[in-house]
């Protein structure tokens, strides 16, 4: 009769308890450092934020106690990321349109989809090496070597797979009835895509693209020998062809300096970078959750 009741000391129940606590421990070990990490970055970086930070140039590392600000790096990150987006978004969206709307699952589209996945797995520093060999060392851009433009190109290689993938998947979620309806009333293929399918997939594509941009903004490895770094204000259009600072490279350079003032600047830059990336992520997640239509599997 006993066997009808839950028996604590049965070996299977003991084993279950053991593994349950093991998985709880795993989750704790995984989560706690991560929480600690985020709070530490926000606390340590947030305490360094001053108004001058956004307006001054960083001082070259040295004994002077005042490190200056991060204005050129902040603007540089915005410029480099914009260049990357300007290159990657048209190519990616166009490529995604081809994959989702025109290709009929043949060898070519299979190969491209495979290529997208492979390109997404290429280490980010290899993108930097590639642009260095192609553009920096050949001085192909009007004789300039390290430049913000080259940095933007390197980042665009990293953004491209994300943009293609989200466009492809976003368009595939658009119901075929919409296409039939549009083609049925006599619209041509390109009108159908531009006026019907693309707008109805706009939100999911935009979310993916924005997440891709946020990821690119934090990339450092492709920039350290394409855009290099600069201490000076960005004054005009011509500065695109010269070394350009960015928040990510500033963090890298100043974290390795032996001076406390520079280290603090690195923390402040991390705070700004992490805060903006996290808020973009959270914001797009909330948007996506609100608009969740049938859940994709």
């Amino acid at each position: 009769m006993n066997s009808l009741y839950y028996q604590k000391r049965l070996s299977r129940n003991i084993g279950d308890k053991f593994f349950t606590s093991l998985s709880v421990i795993c989750a704790l070990i995984a989560i706690l450092p991560l929480i600690f990490l985020v709070t530490y970055i926000l606390y340590k970086g947030g305490s360094q934020i001053t108004p001058e930070l956004f307006t001054l140039e960083p001082n070259p590392p040295g004994d002077d106690l005042d490190a200056g600000g991060i204005n050129p790096a902040l603007i540089g990150t915005l410029i480099i990321t914009s260049i990357a987006s300007i290159i990657a978004i048209p190519i990616g969206v166009g490529g995604g349109i081809y994959l989702a709307e025109y290709s009929k699952g043949g060898a070519f589209s299979k190969f491209i989809r495979f290529g997208v996945n492979v390109l997404a797995g290429v280490p980010s520093i290899i993108a930097g090496v590639f642009i260095y060999a192609l553009i920096v060392s050949t001085k192909i851009l009007f004789g300039s070597m390290y430049s913000g433009l080259a940095g933007g190109m390197a980042l665009s290689i990293l953004m491209l797979p994300t943009v293609i993938k989200t466009t492809d998947e976003g368009l595939k979620l658009v119901p075929n009835e919409l296409r039939y309806a549009s083609l049925g009333v006599g619209a041509s293929m390109y009108t159908t895509i531009l006026k019907v399918t693309l707008p109805s997939a706009f939100r999911s594509i935009a979310t993916g693209v924005v997440l891709g941009i946020a990821r690119a903004a934090g990339e450092t490895a492709p920039l350290i020998f394409t855009a290099l770094f600069s201490y000076y204000y960005i004054t005009g259009f011509g500065d695109l062809f010269y070394e350009m600072g960015s928040l990510a490279v500033l963090i890298y350079n100043f974290a390795l300096e032996p001076y406390d003032a520079q280290n603090k600047l690195a923390w402040a830059a991390s705070f700004i970078l992490v805060l903006s990336i996290l808020s973009v992520n959270i914001f797009s997640r909330i948007l996506a959750a609100f608009n969740e239509k049938p859940k994709r599997v």
Binding site: S23, G94, G115, G121, V129
Partner: protein, 315 residues
């Protein structure tokens, strides 16, 4: 009748619209082939740039660890060894932690709200730039673990991997920061594949009297295995290519050592450190190293894709 015929005649599109349609399609085609062009371009450029070094040192490059720009002798063994050791050991720590966490958030141990918060929090962490993790590793992790490393060295110093006196940055710290980076990847992919296992399977296992963990080990995990494996391989690729956090914490020393408590090198950190100011045959050697790294990560990546295709869930 006459009227109808003219209507019918006009039913074709204007020439210009037809042309736009064709141009649009071909533009999209060209744009999509950019992916292939860039990918091939990367492979070819890195290969041809490394050609000089390749023909000079051949495969000896892979097994010697002399890196001397003055004597023009190059071998990347330390860096290759460092890349493999840091990525494999970090995976070894990450897999049980990540899969354990994934099981925790797919089972109903705690209410759904908490599980979703934990899940999305873990995913958010994947968004933190690695350079910031490197900064954190330098200023928080390294001082925190120093005592622990000294303890390891004092009591387990007879094991070769703990045989050097810990002095600041070292390979073990690089492994630990990689664990922090890989955890979100492994956890979220493992969670997705566990979620995809049909509920029927679980109910059937419960129905014949299996306990919860018997079900997890004998039914759920095997069913989700291919997805988890693919996630693990993706994480491996990421670990091998990871540059910034590792470069900042590994110590960047080309002197070979079995010990994890001594400074080390990885291919990507070597590139990050030397590429800017290299010239002559050193550049070519660096490209050779980059080629090795690229090949490693391509193989891992393609294998992961093949695995997903071959063993994807068929329910």
């Amino acid at each position: 009748m006459e009227e109808k015929l003219t209507l019918f005649k006009n039913r074709k599109r204007f020439g210009i619209e037809k042309n736009i349609d064709i141009i649009f399609k071909n533009t999209a085609l060209v744009l999509s082939s950019f992916v292939a062009i860039i990918l091939l371009g990367i492979i070819l450029v890195v290969f041809f740039q490394s050609f000089e070094s390749f023909s000079r040192y051949g495969l000896k490059f892979l097994v010697t660890s002399e890196w001397n720009p003055v004597k023009d002798e190059y071998g990347a063994f330390t860096a290759i060894y460092g890349t493999l050791v840091t990525s494999f050991l970090s995976l070894l720590i990450t897999i049980p932690l990540g899969v354990g966490t994934a099981i925790f958030i797919t089972e109903d141990f705690v209410p759904k709200v908490f599980r979703e918060i934990i899940g999305s929090f873990v995913e958010l962490l994947a968004a933190i730039p690695s350079v910031v993790l490197g900064l954190w590793a330098i200023f928080v992790m390294e001082p925190f673990f120093r005592v622990f490393f000294v303890f390891l060295h004092n009591f387990f110093g007879w094991i070769p991997i703990f045989s050097t006196e810990p002095t600041g940055r070292n390979s073990l710290l690089a492994i630990l920061i990689l664990v922090v980076m890989l955890l979100p990847i492994v956890t979220s992919i493992a969670r997705d594949s566990l979620n995809q296992v049909p509920k029927k399977l679980r109910n059937a296992a419960y129905g014949i009297g299996a306990s919860r963990w018997k079900t997890i080990f004998s039914v759920i995990l095997p069913a989700a295995l291919s997805g988890i494996m693919a996630g693990v391989l993706l994480a491996l690729g990421r670990a091998m290519g990871e540059t910034m956090a590792v470069t900042m914490i590994i110590g960047n020393s080309n002197a070979f050592s079995w010990s994890l408590l001594s400074p080390g090198y990885t291919i990507s950190s070597m590139l990050a450190n030397q590429f800017g100011e290299a010239d002559g045959s050193q550049v070519s050697s660096l490209f050779y190293a980059a080629f090795v790294l690229m090949t490693l990560s391509l193989v891992v990546n393609i294998f992961a894709q093949w695995l997903v295709k071959k063993f994807s869930l068929k329910y």
